[in-house]
Amino acid sequence: MAASSDIHPFDPDRLRDLLVATAGGDAGAFEQLYQSTSGKLFGICLRIVQQRSDAEDVLQDVYVTIWRKAAQFDAARASAITWLAMMARNKAIDRLRAGSVERHSAPIDLAEDLHDPNASTLALAETNETNRRLDACLGELEAQRRNLIRIAFFEGATYEELAARCGAPLGTVKSWVRRGLLRLKACLER
């Protein structure tokens, strides 16, 4: 588990219970859910939309949607943290695509190894098997594919933006990412 300003935020059972209670209209559970997860979801939004005021608007939209649509959470289909994190990512990316936010995009150096095997130093003890497997499978990819996938995930960058930032042709970038994703899936399913 990464560093966190929240008390044990990602205890999956607790998050699931809070989300289910929120679906039932329990405002106290919703507030606890907010206390436990808002720092992380804000971090997710900020990486994508970058401007604090935009990220705050997105985060507000995220939690209002959680309050209204918590009943759509299906514990059999997704973990609570996946549901919450992906909602934050999706809303942040939608906002980015709407073109209303300003963003600073640094050039990408594909040769640089962005993969940090010690990224989860803070919580190695808690890093579970799923995390280790994704880490290992990303590690098997060629550096440029891995880097593009990581940047796309964290920043919500389009193919066009990735191509411009790393100075490679669009078709090449698409091919790297797609092949990287296929390899990743195959590795995870091994």
Binding site: S4, S5, I7, A27, Q60, V64, W67, I93, T127, T158
Partner: protein
């Protein structure tokens, strides 16, 4: 549009391609919208998207939480049609500090009155203000003065070990444009653990992760580095230390 590349079975386009691209976030606005509409009517596609979301979720671990402005919760409550937070008596299973106090503007104005006032106020808030539960056993308060190389104090920290709360009061801190200050806890002989980003313009109440509470002890070091927006990449300090200090008993 996106032509699938590298189908897993010859001749059969792998629909996972688009689901993966959608989840990764690389699709342009028009394609993304089209796929979002497809999500509503194509259960198979929707399942593939859910599978990719689960596959990539572990990456979220690397994102450092960022303290959310206190004003946001009341805004969310208003937009969601929930009564204002101070009017509710939400039973708090974790015995966390009442949000009312931490979000109260007068409290923060009072706390910001000055460095000494800040420490006094924090101590008062942490140990004297009545809590919902009966008064807890007294624990000696811990403090840390984080200083620059030249010895000037930039941040003052007060620690409530029992609740796992650290109040960090900046003095006059200059943060380079486009950078943010990040707080670290470094137990003796250990690597830095991020406690999140700081707002240099006001006092910050940091909820220390449960697994680090035991490390809040004399001789542990707290430090502030300047990092890119969103926090140190990979959860490890990347920027220079602008202030540090050792935790000690008050």
């Amino acid at each position: 549009m996106n032509t699938p590349v590298g189908p897993t079975q010859p001749g059969a386009p792998d629909p996972n391609d688009v689901a993966a691209e959608y989840v990764l976030g690389v699709l342009d606005a028009a394609t993304r919208r089209a796929e979002q509409e497809r999500l509503l009517r194509d259960p198979m596609f929707s399942r593939e998207v859910a599978e990719w979301e689960a596959r990539l979720t572990p990456l979220i671990d690397e994102i450092v939480p960022v303290p959310v402005p206190h004003a946001l919760w009341p805004r969310i409550c208003a937009a969601a049609g929930i009564g204002p937070p101070l009017d509710r008596t939400a039973p708090d299973l974790r015995a966390r500090p009442r949000p009312g106090m931490w979000q109260s503007a007068p409290f923060w104005r009072w706390l910001s009155a000055g460095a000494f006032a800040a420490v006094a106020a924090s101590l008062f808030a942490l140990f004297v203000l009545p809590q919902v539960a009966p008064p807890p056993p007294q624990v000696a308060p811990l403090v840390a003065k984080m200083v620059q190389d030249e010895g000037k104090a930039l941040f003052l920290a007060t620690v409530d070990v029992r609740r796992g709360i650290m109040v960090v009061q900046p003095t006059t801190v200059e943060i380079p444009q486009g950078r943010v200050p990040e707080l670290w806890l470094i137990p003796p002989g250990d690597t830095p653990h991020s406690l999140g980003l700081l707002d240099p313009s006001r006092a910050n109440a940091i909820v220390v992760p449960r697994e680090l509470i035991a490390a809040l002890a004399p001789r542990a070091v707290v430090a502030v580095t300047v990092e890119p927006p969103g926090g140190a990449p990979g959860g490890k300090p990347s920027g220079p230390i602008i202030a540090k200090g050792e935790i000690s008993l008050l």
